[in-house]
Amino acid sequence: MSKRSSTASLKSPLGVARGLGSAKEGVGHWWYQRLTAIALAPLSILFVWLVLHLLNAEYDVVRATIAQPFIAVLLMCFMVSLFYHGQLGLQTIIEDYIHQRALELTLLILVKFSALLFSVASVLAIARIALTNS
C-alpha cells in the first residue's frame, strides 16, 4: 500500500495500465492504421485511375488534371494517408525484426522523419500545381 500512496494519482495500477500499454499510447497505433487503411481503400482506386488516365498524357494535361480542386484535395489526402499508414506499418516491422535497440531506434526515427518529410513535400507539390496552374 505504501507504494500505491507514493503515486500522486488515485487511479489503481490497473486503471493506469488499461488502455495505455507499454508504448503509452493504448490502441492508438492499431486504430490509426485501420483509419488510414479505410481512407486509402477508395483513395488508392482514385490514384490508380489517375495513373491509367494520365499514362500517355502531355505535361499540360497532367498538370491541369491534378490542378482541379477536387482531385488536388483528394490526392493530398491520399499522399498524407499513404505516408502515415506506411510509417505505422514500417514501425511494426522494425519493432518485430530489429532486436538491437540502438539500430531499432535509429530506424524508427529515420522512418518517422522521412514519412513527415515526404508527405509535406507531396502536399507542397500538389498545392504548387493547383495554385500556379495557368
Binding site: 479505410i38 500517355n56 497532367v62 506506411g86 514500417l90 522521412s114 513535400a121 507542397l124 507539390a125
Partner: protein
C-alpha cells in the same frame, strides 16, 4: 520414456522472437501474411517515388519530362508494374484484415476461403491492369 536434458539457460536468449518465420511450415495463411508485409514495404518505397513524381511535375516541364522518361525505361516499367501489383495485393488482403478486425471470417475454414479468393482476384485484376497498362504504353 527418455528424459530430455534441460536446455541451457544461454540458449534461451538465442530463441527466435516474434514472427519466427524460420521455424514455420509454410501455409497459405502465413505466406499471405508475410506477403502483406512485403508488399507494404514495397509500397512505402513506391510512395517516395510518387512524391518525387509530384515534385517533378510541380517543378516544371523539364523535370517532368525527365521523370516521364525514367518511367518509360525498362526498369521504370518494371518498378511501376511491381508497384501496381503490390498495391492490388495489399488492397485486397487489407480488406481481409479489416474484416478480421471487425470480427468476421476468423475461423480457419473461412480464412483459407478468403485467402484463396484474394489470390484469385489478385491474379485476375493484376493481369488485367498489366495488360491494359502495357498495351496503352507503346
Amino acid at each position: 520414456m527418455a528424459v530430455e536434458a534441460q536446455p541451457k539457460i544461454s540458449n534461451h536468449a538465442k530463441r527466435p522472437l516474434s514472427p519466427h518465420l524460420q521455424v514455420y511450415k509454410p501455409q497459405l495463411t502465413s505466406m499471405m501474411s508475410i506477403m502483406h508485409r512485403g508488399t507494404g514495404v514495397a509500397l512505402c518505397a513506391g510512395a517516395v517515388l510518387i512524391a518525387f513524381g509530384l515534385l517533378a511535375l510541380a517543378d516544371g516541364y523539364e523535370s517532368w519530362t525527365y521523370f516521364r522518361a525514367q518511367c518509360g525505361t525498362l526498369i521504370g516499367k518494371l518498378v511501376i508494374s511491381a508497384f501496381l501489383l503490390a498495391l492490388i495485393y495489399h488492397w485486397l488482403n487489407g480488406l481481409r484484415h479489416l474484416g478480421w478486425d471487425a470480427g468476421y471470417g476468423l475461423d480457419i475454414k473461412t480464412t483459407y476461403t478468403t485467402g484463396k479468393l484474394v489470390a484469385i482476384l489478385f491474379a485476375v485484376i493484376g493481369a488485367a491492369l498489366l495488360y491494359f497498362g502495357l498495351r496503352s504504353t507503346t
